[in-house]
Symmetry: C2
Subunit: 330 residues, 2 copies
């Protein structure tokens, strides 16, 4: 049983008319009247699986837990409101570390405009384990699902791809301090930012058909968007957002920057589709949010995701992203 | 740092007017308009800390996770609506066990009338770990907080006390199958039931001043109710709900049944306070729900919780309940 099969075993058909969307998107979507919906999501981070305390400062880790959850709200176009935290603390845990973690978490709540209202604490024999539940809200008519993509849509990504994977690789290789300054890569792993303003403005624009956040890398994420929309897609290798610093890091570590971009994950950028004629308007929205926008592909009839190389030849891109059940390490 | 100090380090003053209650009660309480509030809570169960797979059938464990969460909703007088599940699964986990767990969880959702709408799954190096977030709702004017107790109130408990602790002790001693039939004790540990109907009817009656669920045992729970209400309380040892089967189990295991009742926890009964003149009406409500009601004490001026022995002498009862940070075992 892999992760997706497990999730399928949990999914049930709901008979409650308020549940507009249960599992299968970045958030569950619940009608709450007055033209609003409530968004619900949850993310768990386990020590040794999702984070390494040897190089992750606790305040940034607390902040990252919030950002990762807020990113799910941003992926629908919503605004985060409330949080609940489950803290699993190992025997004899370092109090100063935990207090710094909580400070980072609270600072992130303030920055994103949401409030921690509850939670529980338990002993955790296997190291630190944090699970955060997030609530958000937005106008019912503006919710952007993964399933709304249309044939002929352009496929966009905000900001940069591969930065988090490159930053993690640098940290793991103990090369984060090398010249040139790799701070943008390392920061993306340690302290990613949820694209809340961009998500809200894209949703309000009415120009976007489908959206999700890039948590596992486009090779996995876009494949899910394709499946949800009943379409196929092509990603063009030479249109991926280029970056000198990523190339430099790849050279230093003898890695493939395209793999980082397509399969690295944890960039928490927004992936979305829209009709190509809105390109100028969409770029203007992103510019207002201080982010570049890159059309990396297009939505096709058919099924499946293909990567088109620089020479025009295409091949299937069926990487399944981070598979928690198979890869116990970071 | 103990558990309560940790929770205090997380609590922040909210400036959001919709947050009627953040941390410090069984649920957070959020205004949602139209005279309704939303209730939010979260509970985590860690293998080796909260459950022992050697004697806990997976379907009953899935059911218990739901019941424990629903009990927090019942403790405010509310009705459960939605759930989100975080599943931490160890490497090479037993698929049949997990599918049975999920079946039990779904069956409990159906029985309580709530729906699982989301979640995530992660690898868990330290054994199974499940965190469930629950949402509920109720009329804004009927919410029963821990802080509403009044001087002179009678202190009631529904059903039985000490059953879960006795059941767990029997299971751990491998004596669960002994005569007499200890099923009611063992069942209370393996498969407790949230008192949703009773909680709702007590809240709707307008007769109750303060309520919570008995998750850590009255010695700890009533102390929290006292602190929240700015009052003291006395519990009368000879008024605790007597039970032959509990006495039999204590004799078999050479244990103290009063300790099970006061300090055992996990009974998930309702503890509440009301003016003594409503005794008949309150008992009628409980009877309709198939539960007995026992007035085990009274709320006093002052602070702190005291236990009054059969000879009339009283002594402080300051047990702090299950302390997750100090007791890594079950």
């Amino acid at each position: 049983m892999n992760e997706r099969e497990y999730i399928r075993s949990l999914a049930v058909q709901s008979t409650c008319p308020d549940i507009l969307r249960g599992m299968g998107d970045d958030c569950a979507v619940i009608g709450k009247g007055s033209g609003l919906v409530q968004l619900l999501s949850l993310d768990t981070m386990v020590e040794g699986v999702h984070f390494d305390r040897s190089f992750h400062p606790p305040d940034l880790l607390g902040r990252k837990l919030v950002s990762v959850n807020v990113s799910d709200i941003a992926a629908m176009g919503g605004r985060p409101t409330l949080l609940l935290l489950s803290s699993g603390l190992p025997p004899g845990f370092d109090e100063a570390w935990v207090l710094a973690f909580n400070r980072g978490l609270h600072a992130a709540c303030r920055d994103y405009g949401c409030t921690l209202v509850g939670g529980d604490t338990v002993a955790s024999p296997g190291g630190f384990c944090f699970s955060l539940t997030i609530l958000g809200e937005m106008a019912a008519g503006e919710v952007l699902y993964r399933s709304g993509a249309q044939q002929g849509d352009a496929l966009y990504v905000s900001g940069n791809l591969g930065f988090a994977a490159a930053g993690l690789a640098l940290l793991q290789a103990d090369r984060a301090g090398c010249a040139p300054d790799f701070a943008p890569l390392v920061d993306r792993h340690l302290n990613p930012e949820a694209r809340v303003a961009l998500g809200q403005q894209l949703a309000a624009s009415g120009l976007v058909h489908a959206m999700m956040d890039s948590s596992d890398g486009p090779a996995s994420d876009v494949a899910q968007l394709c499946a949800a929309s009943g379409l196929g897609a092509r990603i063009f290798a030479d249109r991926l957002p280029a970056s000198n610093i990523l190339t430099e890091a790849a050279r230093l570590l003898d890695a493939n920057p395209q793999d980082w971009m397509l399969k690295g994950g944890e960039d928490f950028e927004l992936l979305f589709t829209a009709a190509p004629e809105h390109d100028t308007a969409l770029r203007a929205i992103a510019r207002k949010c201080g982010l570049r926008l890159t059309p990396i592909g297009c939505m096709d009839a058919g099924a499946g995701l293909r990567l088109v190389a620089g020479d025009g030849r295409d091949s299937p891109l069926d990487y399944q992203g981070y598979e928690h059940f198979c890869e116990p390490g970071l």
